[in-house]
Assembly symmetry: C2
């Protein structure tokens, strides 16, 4: 059996590495996989809270995210947890060794604090696996061309895991504190069910919009390299987590139009009226917002009733609203005839599914369900695999539950 199973990378996040007891439990999950005889490698995050502690130390001395010395501070967190995991594996009788990014090396490029992986040399990993030794790779970090440590940004250990899996032609199990991805947030809808299989694109939408299970770049990386990802719970006994498998759409046998209902709280809507029809003013607006560091989510552009100008609406996170307004006002003064309005107290609900493309009935259901419950749609936008609407915050939970039920997501 062992020769037929592909190699496996197991990634453990901070909550799975929170203390000695949790590390030992995570090690028991690794041990169960290793004892099937398949080649196993591990990638770990820093112990829960450690990255924040280290960042706070760096900040207290004038450092900050995006500085190379801060990256040297932060990298220590995963160095410690990798070696602790190696010790835990040795204690249960396995051969294991901590491996830092610079030892492979994992080569990275780009700014400190948000570097990207440009290459992984699998030589040492292969050599360790050939000796039945489990490499425990420190996540979140690599070494730059000038020999400095650099980190990959928050959630970067997911990316390390995907990249190590690609380098080893392995599958990749991401262990976290939830047993996979759910059709919606179980805190809102207790009937939410675990999704067995999901495409990378659906995962991206669900992850970015509430179910923050997998870091976005790691899913993109896995998609590009064709790595099979699974999201599992390290809080269950070894072998007990069914989890969610993230695969290519072609590998999803059980087709379902809608995979899940995601949401985001604290959204605001910005409306700009009377902009030039040629789009020049819209370009100025977006560039001003980008400079102010405001992330824009949904965008709707419509011709004005008179037809000689356009109206632009978009959503931003509530915390960014004041910054967005300040940036806009500086420019709107120079755009005669333009006007600006905003609305707060909104939330976003998104219906996500690869089977959604071109299915007008999905949108129809959405509008019918919300209308029948007197939930006003303040804004709507679609992509190939999702429909998002803004609703009043007070109605968020009601909308999520209604849509979850309407698309049959509570049915097994």
């Amino acid at each position: 059996m062992s020769d037929t199973l592909p190699r496996l990378v197991l990634k453990f996040g901070g909550t799975s590495m929170a203390d000695a007891e949790r590390i030992a439990h995570s090690a028991s999950i690794v041990a169960a996989e290793a004892r099937t005889g398949r080649g196993v490698a591990v990638v770990v995050s820093a112990m829960a809270g450690e990255t924040d502690r280290l960042l706070s130390l760096a900040t207290s001395l004038g450092g900050g995210l995006g500085e190379v010395e801060t990256d040297t501070v932060l990298s220590a967190g995963e160095q410690v947890s990798a070696a602790l995991m190696a010790l835990a594996l040795q204690r249960v009788g396995l051969k294991a060794r901590a491996v830092m990014g610079w030892q492979l090396p994992i080569e990275v490029d780009g700014p400190p604090g948000s570097a990207r992986i440009t290459g992984i040399d699998p030589h040492l990993l292969d050599a360790l696996l050939d000796q039945d030794t489990i490499p425990v790779v420190a996540g979140y970090q690599g070494v730059s061309a000038d020999g400095r440590l650099a980190t990959l940004g928050r959630g970067g250990t997911d990316l390390t895991a995907a990249a190590v899996a690609a380098a080893l032609q392995a599958e990749c199990d991401i262990y976290t504190d939830v047993d996979g991805v759910f059709t919606t947030d179980p805190r809102i809808e207790p009937a939410a069910r675990r999704v067995g299989r999901i495409s990378h694109d659906e995962m991206l939408e669900l992850a970015a919009m509430g179910a923050k299970v997998l870091q976005t770049r790691s899913v993109e990386y896995a998609k590009a390299k064709g790595v099979v990802l699974r999201v599992k719970s390290s809080f269950l006994d070894a072998g007990s987590s069914a989890g969610t498998e993230v695969v290519c759409p072609a590998d999803i046998a059980e087709r379902r139009v809608v995979s899940g209902v995601a949401y985001a709280r604290d959204q605001a809507r910005l409306s700009l009226y009377g902009l030039d029809a040629d789009g020049a003013q819209a370009a100025i607006v977006f560039s001003a917002l980008a400079e102010a560091g405001v992330g824009i989510d949904m965008i709707v552009q419509a011709r004005s009733r008179s037809g000689d100008s356009v109206n632009l609406e978009f959503s931003v996170e509530g915390k960014d609203l004041d910054r967005a307004l300040a940036a806009l006002r500086r420019h709107l003064d120079e755009m005669p005839g333009s006007a600006c309005a905003h609305q707060t107290g909104l939330a976003k609900v998104s219906v996500v599914g690869t089977g959604l493309r071109g299915r007008a009935d999905v949108a129809r259901t959405l509008y019918e369900v919300l209308r029948s419950r007197n939930i006003a749609v303040r804004m709507a936008a679609t992509s190939e695999i999702k429909i998002s609407v803004l609703v009043d915050s007070d109605w968020l939970e009601h909308a999520v539950r209604a849509l979850h039920s309407a698309y049959g997501l509570d049915q097994s």
Copy 2:
């Protein structure tokens, strides 16, 4: 002026790196030296308490000192503090960069947890110094031939500092929480004075016997490589610490027969009677104690009164006594005619000085002073630069004060 001053390595221990405030203060000391224009490098320990915290984490997962994975855990402490110091230096307008042992590299050999430095490549340090960038070297660690992190044992950062200074042909200031080495412990004798200059050998005796300021191996390394060491306080303002300079005996102008009075509490005396005169049984005894991990300090061998056997006396630390007795008894049963006795509740007082060699008057003074105060000498041993005696613990402080005064150490 700057071109005439030799390069300088400044080492800061854990108490000098205890928190952001102390790191910033230590950085101000570095900045003052750097602003003279001389080439400056820094070597740092982990923040106070951090190595213990990390070791405790490793221990809780089955690790321990002397294991390679534990070394990976422990090395993180100095990685963090080196980058924090670099940040603190940048904040005061200096160029600085953290450098780990593996980046130079600092090559080490020998068992994990007590590795020894076999080589330092000064190339990167030279390049940084040429760019007016202060290298901040993570102490206590290097990289082994197989690419693993390895630590140098407790106090290993002193050794790193001495080795970096030797590689850079620099002088080496060791910053700690006391302003140099004192003629004795000021807590026992308030009239104790700071020693201005001291030889490496005297430093070794004083460091090993109470004034635990410098790690033994670092002094030996500095002696072998001719590195000038200074012990200074990081708790004073920049430039305010006079400190103690550790130099070759030839460089000590002001000759003083006795440099200091050191002491150690909780000593025990072991006495073995009736051993073979040819020394074979003594060899068995010492080998048994070594196997049991018992450190032996003073050793006195004397012929028995009858002349056909020898008596052997030695001192051990009180905490090692039970282990020593157990090891001895297994062997004494097989040595007919031998007997064993022990005495506890003793303390060691040592008079140290390079000028002591061959000066019988020093020993005479010692015996006279102790006898005049009715302090019994339970054992005595000499080396080239010290005379040590065991006295009853209750009399320790009295003996230290009396000897300190008798040798004129309270006189400026």
